[in-house]
Amino acid sequence: MVYIDPHIHMVSRTTDDYQRMAQAGCVAITEPAFWAGYDRSSSQGFFDYFRQLTDTEPNRASQYGIKHHCWLCINPKEAEDVGFAREVISLIPDFIECNNVLGIGEIGLNKNSKNELLILEEQLALAEQLQQLVLVHTPHLEDKLKGTNLIMDAIENTSLSPDRVLIDHVEEHTVRAVLDRGYWAGMTLYPDSKCTPQRAADIIEMHGTERLWINSAGDWGPSDPLAVPKCRVELASRGHTSSLIDTISFHNPQLFLSQSGKFSIE
């Protein structure tokens, strides 16, 4: 049994987590750039962070036989300062050719503000220009429904093809619209917010497996780096086939991520 965790923030996790994930069957991960829990004081902080994502973490993961990939961006929580965000965006082209960079992400919205939307649009334009895959963060809790719709509208004002965009953190009230508009959809398995493994299994039973994946989004907050194998166990205990379980936790991520030309589990 092997699996891919296509969204996890290993910069916030200990090496013990790499070990436990490897023992549970994890062979590859992808790590989107995100908010560190505080605002960086300069774009130089992002330069160092991008080095960590493209150099330090791949080395740390490789000690446990896990292939590490990443996504680069300025996250929406630090996008309110447009000038600062543009400084960070200007760093991305220099890192985009690194072997483990799969695209632009996790871009999106947080509080659905005008400046967040402006910076989202500028990063979508960068993805268009550099012909990159896109990983999208949708807002939390009460802001998710509106934000998801604003994000899809913004993407549809570009030439980006929906099948090269993954919209993450879907729940019961957003998953159908995301899939119907042709995007890939990610379900994040969190203990208190987003989806539990049980609810993710329900969504799979209601909506099928096409263009759908699961991830832990493990980070510095309440989260579980073993959420993906726990959801696999939940599906198995309900009597689902190993084929379905592998589709949702291995083959679907592999299919989407391989469009980058850089994704590898070897």
Partner: protein, 89 residues
């Protein structure tokens, strides 16, 4: 899974969760304060929705807890979310 299998497997877990909600509301009542909170009011609306007997309760609860306005807001005054739509926002 059959209905019986689902109940056998998940009942105790959800019995505990509904008791947690009851204990949470009792804890608030013990404060003996008159002020209401939009989040607790939203929770009461969700509890009422749970009394309906048609499938799709999870989605309907999420919609009850969502911001239904359409355009972007002027600026993000905070980074966090409340879990329910604040009044007058």
């Amino acid at each position: 899974m059959t209905q019986q299998e689902i109940i056998d497997r998940y009942f105790l877990e959800h019995r505990a969760k509904i008791l947690d909600i009851a204990a949470f509301l009792d804890r608030i009542d013990r404060c003996n304060e008159d002020e209401t909170d939009f989040r607790v009011e939203a929770l009461h609306r969700c509890i009422a929705e749970l009394q309906t007997d048609s499938e799709g309760r999870t989605e309907r609860l999420l919609l009850l807890l969502s911001d239904h306005s359409s355009g972007p807001i002027e600026s993000a005054g905070t980074k966090g979310a409340s879990g329910a739509q604040p009044p007058h926002s």
